[in-house]
């Protein structure tokens, strides 16, 4: 991903820490999953005291694990696709394809943000104890916080998609070769190298 002093690039760099934070939350949630299970098994095996609501807590954490980082992954183009065709395009034609693709995704995500918010809203009613109108099966914890994660994550993704649409649109109009604030179009070989490099330096 290239950077420069344009407003677009600045906005991109402003959004990045938020996305990174969301992704790290997801990673930490995975990490705590491990401790939760280890704790639950130990409690059960050695102290005959299994953890109450273990399943409910894991289910509540799953949206953080699975969805919170969605924008971070979109930023650097990690979501998989078939790039047999776009991998061979260059210049304006490439930016046109990318722009259409981003706009289609934007349509979907705006719809999903709306729908996910509605899903949250149906489970949320502050006239009730803990604002809860939907609760978990075993220990009855409110579900709305877990449902709220989804529209938040999608909201961030909408911002990211707007920036990418701007970036590709700009590249299309100006006929740029190396636009800023959009994922670089890597060949499979380059991607593989990056993937391998991610594991570098541990030995």
């Amino acid at each position: 991903m290239l950077e420069d002093s344009s407003l677009l690039s600045k906005l991109d760099r402003m959004l990045l820490p938020i996305e990174r934070f969301c992704a790290l939350l997801s990673g930490l949630a995975i990490f705590s999953l491990m401790f939760l299970a280890a704790y639950s098994v130990t409690g059960r095996k050695f102290f005959a005291s299994p953890m109450m609501g273990y399943v409910d807590y894991i289910e509540a954490a799953m949206p953080i694990i699975a969805i919170m980082g969605v924008s971070y992954v979109q930023r650097d183009g990690t979501h998989i696709r078939m790039d047999m065709l776009v991998g061979n395009l260059k210049g304006r034609l490439l930016w046109l394809f990318e722009l259409i693709s981003i706009l289609l995704i934007l349509v979907l995500i705006v719809a999903l943000t709306w729908g996910a918010w509605e899903h949250f809203d149906r489970s949320f009613d502050c006239a009730r104890p803990l604002c809860s109108r939907d609760s978990s099966i075993d220990v009855g914890i409110p579900i709305w916080p877990s449902k709220l994660v989804v529209p938040i994550a999608f909201g961030v993704l909408v911002l990211r998609l707007l920036l990418q649409a701007w970036g590709y649109g700009r590249a299309l109009i100006l006929g740029l070769e190396n636009p800023v604030a959009v994922p670089l179009n890597l060949s499979i070989a380059e991607q593989a190298r990056l993937e391998a490099d991610a594991l570098e330096g541990a030995d």
């Binding site: 790290l24 997801s26 095996k45 949206p63 696709r81 065709l85 776009v86 979907l108 996910a116 594991l199």
Partner: protein
């Protein structure tokens, strides 16, 4: 218009978007969402006044799907399995394994290559993802092989092929995904992967030994390790055995009561590897990096899962899977022949698509058809076409498609493992790796044929688990 027609048109649209390079997860989600709107509006006879209502209902159905579908305890296995792989790397289990394999088996013809296959199989037992395995061993094993005069294409091929073993041998993210899509018991599927995974490794080893015997210059044996050296190589690799034992014992304990559920087994295994990584010097910076990488891969996989499930939800309303299953069962061909055609179709599709995307996109339609072919989900072994109960057929087919998906990791033009190996090594081009991996196609074809012909290889372990 009939719902099924809408289902077919929308699926064609999905295919087009995927071919044109849209991210698979979002293409599936969009196809599902648009399909829902279309289907609903079709139900209202395209009354313009009721388009808004169609849109609203569809937005709400699609919008609840991501939360609804990811909030399942069994899905927590996927991130845990992915994390084990990253932590195992920091625990330096890879080098330890390769060293142990070398000292124990490198005395056979093609010794280092055989050691590499067994080491990758061992690492598969702590790694849920194939690509990472290939990347790691490209760095450790290829230099050693080149040092004693291996053909470099062959050496690269061994690593690319060995890397594929990670998706059959548990822990395996892809087996978990299959289990979730088809709603089968995760534990039994993981258990079912062990023997075919080990079987694949043995077929690879036999192939290497044969090649080394026939072509003398391919890979000389490496001997001269004393028994003392051999035993000394075992302790650093011990956590692998611990993880294998834990996962087996949590899924199925041959000596009595199992210790817990597979989800717990995965997490406890990860915990042990985490402790090992700490002991071997992993620090916060590396941990944070591992967590971010785990999160990225996890989110990527889950995005496809919920995206595809929006599409699947639409298919449910369009009743397409039922129609496809009816069509398949009405064909005038033997069920086994149809099954083989399906597997071949996966081989072709897999040349162009990522394994997870491929399985997620096709299984919602193909799986019910295969089950119908066998005689239905609840059929008994006696009444079935393939001579196995519905549950067993689900397991068998799962192992077969996952093996197909592994196969696709090494087939041109975009066999990901080959690109990874070439990416790690400056002195190797992708063409080199593809050339070197060619003999392993044969090995994989033999393995798949045997798994089809003798389902017992797959089903023996899970049938013990009741």
């Amino acid at each position: 218009m009939e719902p099924i027609e809408i289902g077919i048109w929308t699926s064609a649209g999905l295919l087009l978007m995927v071919v044109l390079g849209m991210r698979v997860a979002f293409a599936a989600g969009l196809a599902g969402f648009v399909g829902l709107v279309w289907l609903r509006w079709n139900g209202f006879d395209y009354d313009p006044a009721r388009f808004g209502k169609s849109l609203e209902i569809s937005v709400k159905i699609a919008g609840l799907t991501p939360h609804s579908k990811v909030s399942a305890q069994v899905l927590s296995l996927i991130p845990v399995f992915i994390m084990i792989g990253y932590l195992a790397y920091y625990a330096k289990l890879t080098t330890a394994l390769f060293e142990a394999a070398k000292r124990w088996v490198a005395w056979v013809p093609g010794g280092l290559a055989v050691s590499t296959v067994f080491a990758t199989a061992g690492f598969a037992a702590v790694s849920g993802a194939s690509v990472a395995t290939a990347a790691v061993f490209a760095r450790i094993a290829i230099p050693e092989m080149l040092k004693i005069g291996y053909n470099k294409q062959f050496a690269a091929g061994v690593v690319a092929a060995g890397g594929t073993l990670a998706s059959l041998i548990p822990p395996s993210a892809i087996l978990v995904i299959y289990a979730i899509i088809v709603e089968q018991d995760v534990g039994k599927l993981l258990l079912a992967g062990f023997i075919p995974g080990a079987f694949s490794a043995i077929v690879y080893a036999i192939l290497i030994i044969s090649i080394a015997v026939v072509f003398k210059n391919v890979g000389p044996p490496v001997s001269g390790f004393t028994w003392k050296e051999r035993f000394a190589s075992l302790p650093p690799a011990m956590p692998i055995f611990a993880v294998v034992v834990i996962i087996i014992f949590f899924v199925y304990n041959p000596f009595g009561d199992a210790w817990g559920t597979p989800t717990e087994g995965g997490a406890v295994g990860a915990f042990i590897v985490f402790l090992m990584a700490l002991y071997r010097g992993m620090r916060w910076g590396q941990l944070k990096e591992a967590l971010l990488e785990t999160a990225k891969l996890t989110v990527m996989i889950f995005t496809i899962i919920w995206g595809v499930l929006i599409y699947v939800r639409f298919l449910g309303f369009a009743e397409l899977p039922e129609a496809f299953a009816d069509w398949i069962t009405s064909l005038e061909m033997s069920p086994l022949l149809i099954l083989i055609c399906i597997l071949l179709a996966y081989a072709v599709l897999g040349m162009f698509m990522d394994a997870i995307g491929m399985l997620l996109l096709t299984l919602p339609v193909v799986y019910p058809a295969v089950m119908a072919l066998n005689g239905g989900e609840f059929v008994s072994a006696a009444d079935s076409a393939f001579g196995m109960s519905g549950t067993m057929c689900a397991i068998w087919f799962g192992i077969l498609v996952v093996k197909m998906a592994e196969f696709c990791l090494i087939t041109p033009p975009i066999g990901l493992n080959c690109f990874v190996v070439a990416g790690v090594r400056d002195d190797l081009s992708v063409q080199d790796v593809f050339k070197g991996v060619t003999p392993f196609f044969v090995a994989d074809a033999v393995t798949i044929a045997l798994l089809v012909a003798f389902p017992g290889i797959v089903l023996w372990l899970p049938s013990l688990a009741g």
